[in-house]
Structures are given as C-alpha cells and as structure tokens.
Symmetry: D4
Subunit: 166 residues, 8 copies
C-alpha cells in the first residue's frame, strides 16, 4: 500500500511508474514526519483525465500540497498548478538530453500567474520537495515546525567534519 | 475576425496574446492555400478549461490539425495532444533562457505515446507548421497536393542565385 | 524482410544501420496498425544519390509519409523535406554531445519554407513519429482514426495508478 | 518606505539594488492580497552578516516565507535556506551567460536536505514566487485561500480568446 | 557582379541572401589574395537542385575549395561534402537559439566519412574560412604561400601592444 | 589523519564526504610540496555555522589560501569568499545536469567585489587548485617558487612524445 | 599611458584592443590599491611571439601575477600559464555563442598540471580578477592585507539595505 | 613505430597520450591512402616548447597539414595555427562537461585571422580530419584525388540499404 494510515495531506504524483524509486524517497521523508500522503502514477499526457481529477479534486480531498514528478517535457506539475491553487512542488526527473535540463526547464519556466515551485533534478529534488512540503504544513503547526528544526539539527550533526581517508 | 469564411480545418491556438504576431504568419500561409482556420488564445495554465474544450472538441468541430504555439514551459501543444488523436503541431516561442531552448525542449521531448510534431523556434516554425498542416490535408486532397507542389516551385524560383551586392 | 505485405504507405529511412534498433520500434507501431511500410538505410552524406532517389520518388511510389532518423549533424529529414512535399517526420538519434542536442537542433531548426516535423530524441521519438504517421493517415481514413482512438484508450488503461512498491 | 502597514509575513530579499524593478512586481502581488512584507537589499556575498541576520532572525520576526532573488552565482536563496526552516522561494535573475541559466542552476540545484523552491527566471518568476507565498499563507487561512481562488478566476477571465488583429 | 575576373578557384555558397553581408567578408579576403571565386545563394532545402548542381559540378568547373555558409539547421556544407571530394569549409551563421549553436552543431557534427571543416560562428568564421581556403591553395603554390606568410606578418604587425586609453 | 605535521597554510573544505576522493588529489599535491593543510567536510547549506567558523577564522588560524569544493548549486567557495579576504579557490564537482555545468556556473559567476578563483570541473580542477595554492605561497617564498619550477619541469619531462601503440 | 608610476607587480594582457574597456576596470582596482601594473594587447593567436615574451619574461620583469583576458576560443590565459609558474588569472570575455560560454570553458577547463584561476564572464570577472591579484600580493604584505579588509568593509557599507523605490 | 616509411606530409599531434586510441583512427586512414605522417604527444600547456618546435618547424620539415587533437580547454590546434600558415585541422576530444562541448568551442571559436578547421567531437572527427587532409593533398595530386573518389565510392557501396533485422 502506498498510503500510510493518517489522513493524506500531501499528494505525490508521478508521470511514469519508472519514477517510483525516486519518489519513494520523498514518501520516506513524509513518513519520518508522520505526515499522511497519497501516491499515484498519473501522466499529464497519457492519463489526462486522471490527472485532471487528481488536481481538480485535491483541495476537496484535503490535500494541502502536491508534489509532481516528471521527466522530459515534464508537464505534470504545470497541469496540477493549472487546476488548483494549493502549492504545487515540481521535481524534474533525470533524462538523456542535457542531463535532465529538458525536464528542469519544462517544470520551472512557468508563465506569470501559475506558479510551480521547482526543486533539483532527481533524488535530491525529491527529498527536498518533501522537506519543503513539511515546511509548508509546519507554517501553521508549531509542533511540526519544531520537528523540522530538530530534523535539521540532526542532519547537521550527522555530517562528520573529517572526510573519509584516501 | 480571426477566422476566414470557409469551414475551419485547422485550429491555431497560442498560449498568450503576445504570440499573435508570430502566429498570424501561420494563418497567412493557410489563407494563401484557401484553408479555413480558427485562431484562439488559450493558455494551458491560465485557461485550462478553455484549452480542454478546444482540444477535446476539436475533432467533432471538424478540425483536422491543431497548431499550438507557446513559450517558456510550453505545455499547450502537449495538452492538445493528450486530448485528441488528430495531428498536433507545436511551435516553440522565443524566450530569454537559451534563446527559446526552454520552449523547444518543453514541446519536443514528449513521452512515448503522445506525439507532438515540433517545428523551429519562432517565425520559421510558425510558417513551417502551417505548411506542414497543408501537407497533411493534401495527403487526401490531390488538388491541394498540387497547389503545395506549385507553392514549393514558386518558392524555389524566387530565390535569386546572385547574392545582394556588398 | 523489412517490409510487410501490404502496400507501403510509410517510408522509414535511417542514416546508419546502427539506428535500426531504435527505428524497429517505429516499425512495430505501424505493424500494430496494419500499415505497410518500407525501411531503408540511406545516409544523406554517404549515400546522397540513394537518399535523393528515395525522397524524389517517394510520392510516386505511393508513400504518404516519411520518417527519417539520424544522429549528430542530422540532415536526412531535411534532405527528404527538400525533395518532396509529403509530410516528413524527423527523429533525432542519441549522441554524445549534449545528449543528442546536436541531432535535435539539426533536425528541428529548419528554415522557413521546408518543414520537418520533429519528435523527441531516441526511442520515445521513434514511437511517436510512427503514431503521428498513423494520425496523418487516419485523417482521411475513419476506420484507422477509430483504431487510433482505441489504441490511445488502451494505452491509458494500461497505466496502473499505483506505483510499484519501494 | 518599502514595507506596508500590516505586520510583515513575507520577507523579500534581493542580492542587488538592480534587482528592485523585478522584485517590486512580487511586492505588488502581495499588496493586492493585503499581505504585509518587508523588502531588503542583502547580498549573500557582499553583506553576509546582514544576510545572516535576516535569515537567522526571520522566523522570530514573524516571517512565514522568504522570497530571495539573485543573479549569476545566485546564492542568496541557498543562504537563507541554510539559516531557517521556513519556506524559501528563489527567483533567478536574468544574466548574460545562457540567458540566466547560471542563476537558475545556482538556485535550483540545492543538495538533499536544504530545499529552495525555485521559480522562472526574471519577472515571471518574481510574480509567481509572490503568488506561491500567498498559497502557502492561504493553506491555514481560508479567507486568503478564497481570495486566491478569486484572483485565479479573474486572471482566467481576463484572457481574451481572440488574439489581437494582425 | 559577384565574381572577379580571374578563373574561380573557390566557390562561396550561402543558404540565404541574408548571409551575404557576412560572406562578402570572405570574398574580400580572397580578393586581397587575387584568388578568383564565384558566389551564389543556394539553399540546401529550398533550392536542392541548384545545390546539387553546384556541388556535383564544382570540381569539373575548376573549383578547388567550397565555402558554404548557413544558419539554423545548417545543412548546406554537408550537402556539398556529400557531392564532391574537394575540401568543403563550413561557416555557421548567427541565430537566436543559443547564439548560433544550432548552426555550429549542424555543420561540425558530420558523421565519419564525409568531412566538413568548420569555422567560428559568423564574421570571424567567414574571414577564417577564406584564409583557410588560401592556405589550401597555397599548399601547391609557393608564391601564394609566401603571400600568406606576409599577410600573417602584416596582421601581427598591425596589433598595437598598447590598449586604447580608458 | 587528514592533516600533516607542519602548520596548516592551506584549508581544504568540501561540501560533502563524497567529494573526498577528488580532494585527496589536491591534498597529495600539497604534500609533495611539503605544505601543511587542514581538510574538512563543511557544507554551506547543511553546516552553515561550521562553514562560517571555518571561513571567518581562517586568517587568524594562519591559513593563507582556502580550496573549496562543491557540486550542484556549489555555494561553498562563495561563502568562504564572503567571510575572508584571503584567496579562495573553487573546485566544481561533477554532476548529472550538463556534466557539472551547474557547479561550474555556481562557482565562477561571482558578482563584482567577492572573487572566487575557479578551476576545471572534477579531478583536473582539484589538482590545479592545489598547484595554484602553491604558486600563491611561492610568490613570497623563493625556495617554494624554485620547487614549483622544478615540479613543472619534471612534469614536462614525463610526457613522452611518442604516443602508445595502437 | 597605461602604466602607473610604481614598479609593475601585475601584468594585464588582453587578446584584443576591444577588450580594453573591460580591462580598464581591472586596472582601476589596482590603482585604488596603489599597485603598479603593466597593460598590453597581446593575442595568443595573432601575436604569439609577443605573448611568449610577455609570459616567459614575466617573473624576471618582477611581475607577481598576470591577468589575462580573452574571448571566444580564449587561449591567452592558458598560454601564459604554460610559460611561467606565477599565478595566472583568466577573465573570459562576452561573446555571442551562449553568452560567453565559449570563452568561459576555454579558460577554465585547463588540464591537470597547468592551472588558470578563472573569474566570471566580462566586467564582474575583470574587477574580481584584480581584487584577487590584490589578495595574492596581500598574502605577504600585511599593510596591503589591511587595505583589502578596509576595501571590503567599505564595499559592504555602501550597500543600502533599502531597495530603490518602484 | 608511429610513422610509416614514406616522407611525412601530415603531422598528427595530440594533447595527451590518452588521445592516442582516437588518433590512431586518423593515422589508419592516412595509411590506407599511403600518405606519410608523423605522430606526437605534444601538450600546448605541459610541453609548450615541444609544441612550439613542432608547429614552427612544420613547414620546413615538409609537413603540408597538421591534425591537432585535444580535450577540455583544447588549445593545441590554436597554438599550431598561431605558428604556421599551413592548414591546421582540429579534433575536439570527448569530455565530461556537456559531452565535449568545452573542447569543441575551444577549438572552433578562433578569432579572425588565425583559422582552425574543426571536425566532429571524438572518433568521427579524427577520421574526418584525416580524410580532409587527404583532400587537401589531393588538390594538387590528381592520382590521390582519384583515390579519394574511389574511397568515397567504396564507402557508399558498403552501406547496405537493408537495416539489420530487429
């Protein structure tokens, strides 16, 4: 099962099943924070109706944030952003042409009026989108805000100042 | 009025009114061939419902081809392609980041299953998309096919082999 | 044998034998739709006469569409487009410099007057060019048009909304 | 005065005074929504202490979101993100090298653990970052959420479907 | 008249009349060396037959070198190279997408077996292609070789070591 | 232990432990010259305080040069440069997007007033940054300057003019 | 006159007289610090002997640092670095292809063994190379080191935290 | 031994021994045509004197053409071109940053006055540079010109029009 027990606050959509290994990293972050999420494969191009239903009904289903991951001409985040006013976070997937630059530009270069918050290409972006989703939820949840501060501190503490030996 | 008298066979959609000067060049080509067209501003992101209606109803309205022009994270052609199986022609608009490369990659790098035929960035692409639309219509209209051959010959004949003097 | 039994309506040309694995994916799509095709290795640069004969005689041989695949300074689609007025579909092949961007730009940036419809770099583009060829043929063949709608629906249905487990 | 009367919830920082014309567009959006903001020039490199104070004290000053704009090796958003856990929105400024691609990559390619939500290069990104800030605040403010929905509707309604005449 | 009196040894072809201002700079270099040339507008795509005749008959007409200039999907040099074994020099023209990178890659990335010697984008490349043509002719013409050495010395001597005052 | 016995004159910082294999190559060069160094993992984003302490205290600790290596949105060198006036040498790490171009642009495109001396992406850059650090120290140490001349001579002598057989 | 009265410690070379407006900005920084410099036009390609003499004799003439500026295939800094072991600072000039990326890559991507410290494209890089030259000289000149600290402080103080009004 | 028996007419230089596998492909082409060549490792940066001697003495040693191969900030071809007026052919080597684009731009973007004829990145370019050298020598050697025509014909004949089976 892709959803955890608590009521989903974050929707994770991906353009292809092949994006799942990357997006499970986002899901894992949400689980560490005890945030409910739902996770779906939902292509802007091949399942446009499913994408439409996911985006148009998101707010009503109680979602507070959507993380949308796609590669190549990555339109999924943009489609979500066109259908709802809740925050949309875009994660460009790796690709062959210029190392994912196609997906990055397709996600970030949104026109005035319909924002997509874009993160780094691939795994780094997936983790960061999840952490950013937490920071949005934390802005009205002091307990979660504290958890996020603690997570950050732990992350800092884990970085050994001594590099591994040659 | 943006439409000519004959029944529209080609739909021209553009993501922003600022794309009109470029897309009028496409319209002019269609007029030279006496092909009816309709022309609309229709943003994938800011008017998603209008885009949906345009694309989903295209075939029923009698359109045989859609030319979709957009800049930046150019999703309009992709959205059209997701909604209908008639041929979609994409024209990337000029932009600041890498001279329109954002729009080019966002238009051409479509995933397997949902094709968008992409043309050059800007004016060249607009004219060529229109000529390509003519070639599609010509594939079942011998008279139009002949017109296209004549147009090509005239175009060739017009190119003076002597360069202008220094 | 590279051709199927029915009369070829689509010509598939590729600049090098090494492009065959990619272009067989295009051929397979045409076979699924029962569309006859011919398939040739034909380099714009190393076999210019063969390219010329292929392109100049295409229409007379009954071809309705040509799919041309090439890498690097990918001129094959442009050469075809200069020799005939039937629709030319270009598929840029993967390459080392910028991940195929050389082939993409060489294919898509055609000057005003001679259109090449360009698709994504590599396998995605090969499949999509074939589907696009089907859509052109379908524009005057209602039965084929219905097949294409059915193919699209089946494609949509095959996409499981549940991502594979982590 | 750069701040409006209401208590600032959004901080706008920019790396250089020359970024002000772009960032005033972000400020204007916040004013339309009646959201208090503070706006400062604050270079990651030339005024690191000011940047540190701005970022480290942001949450305590009551800021809920920071919008950070910078060009070239655009580090300002990253610096903010390293100093606080509230959401940081990055706006890359136009530049000469590859049309702002330097600032885009410097802003978006953040390593795992420290997210920066990145928007389009230049004016489009500035407006969208502000709208995204509104969407974050709206996630715990139903009245603001409604305003955002209304703004979106008005924006959609304003887009005339008829392109300007040639 | 575009040709000078002496028997043409160098052919200058350009894809469009708009390339003439750039290519006149190449012609001027040849004139300085007293080398006969012919100069034609001859598009690979819009006048393929003219291009074919120019290239296929070049050697017979007495041409020793061809300089081919084109922009965008710059195929002209490649077409020439496919039709003759005399040296082909390619000059990519400026363009919007990535500042002429499209023409550069379309000219230089020739496949194994059909070489095109490529020079810098725009004016620098035009002058250098002409100088390179001179160096080819000079390889069997000691007098011309001496002229080239003198030209180089004069060029070196003309570069004042003192920069212009601020 | 990452430091050698002599008093550290050069600080090597890297954004992630995964950069260590590359930066050990820099350390090895310093050891060949008998130059003391200290080497730390110190992320601009995940350990900003550690980065601040390293940079702000560098001069006082006796460091004469800092070599800072980072990937992606590589801010570490810029952060160091903002905190001290001793020379900062930046080494961009390899990455997926455009082969490290993200790190290169993030390191080199520093705004007026805060210089970072940037070297090639990856191993070449690491070795060269170390050699450059030696050249800085050598500018007031004639013995070291002589060692550097000898090193260069030995390097030259080691390059066999005969290529390895096919 | 391009040199000031004091003994030159810094050499400024540029590949073309057209680079002078940019490099005068570097000279001005050195003048503010009272550092003697010499300034020459000296092309790696068109005046190779002058370049050789400049580089090979630099150390003997008392130069401690060389700043080398060039555009396009910017080899001047690399040539200097091949001829001397004193620190070489490279400044890539603006260009058309990808906004100076050609010069940036030609300057920074030096092979292992011959370092060139590279700065931002154009004016920013010119000023920063000069400041970096000061930092090198300051590493054995406490008075100059103090001046540099003061300069930095003044620079910081000059940045008004209030952006200019809209 | 890297040289064949006949008097060398072509010089092949490469910046690093690691370029040898690629440049042996060029040598092999020359051998097929019975053209004498010499082949040396000769770095513009690490063995500048050897490079100088190679280039400055080339014409006197009887060389008619030089093929220069290098990677990264590929200056070797430019250095050769600055030292002699015989034709210089540049071959950019593969690299990590943008797939050899650094070497391509460093080789091709030569300033007005000092031409380098540039070929494709890597193996294709190496073979083509050799074929181009043959075409230069053939321009005053009818027998060699005929051999080149035959080689081209054989190459064309070898390309099977049937693609390999799937």
């Amino acid at each position: 099962m892709n959803e955890n027990q608590t009521k989903p606050l974050v929707g994770i959509v991906m353009g292809s099943a092949s994006d799942a290994p990357t997006m499970h990293k986002a899901a894992q972050v949400l689980e560490e924070f005890g945030i409910g999420y739902e996770m779906k494969v939902c292509s802007a191009h091949r399942t446009p109706q499913r994408a439409h239903e996911f985006g148009a009904g998101a707010q009503e289903r109680g979602l507070k944030v959507i993380i949308a991951a796609a590669g190549m001409a990555a339109h999924l985040a943009g489609v979500m952003a066109s259908l709802t006013t809740i925050p949309i976070l875009g994660v460009p997937m790796d690709g062959k042409v210029m190392g994912g630059l196609d997906a990055l530009l397709s996600t970030v270069q949104m026109p005035k009026g319909i924002p997509v918050a874009t993160f780094a290409v691939g795994n780094h972006g997936a983790v960061n989108a999840a952490l950013f989703a937490v920071s949005i939820l934390a802005s009205s949840d002091p307990q979660l805000a504290q958890k996020l501060v603690d997570y950050r501190k732990a992350q800092t503490a884990m970085i050994d100042e001594n590099p591994p030996a040659a």
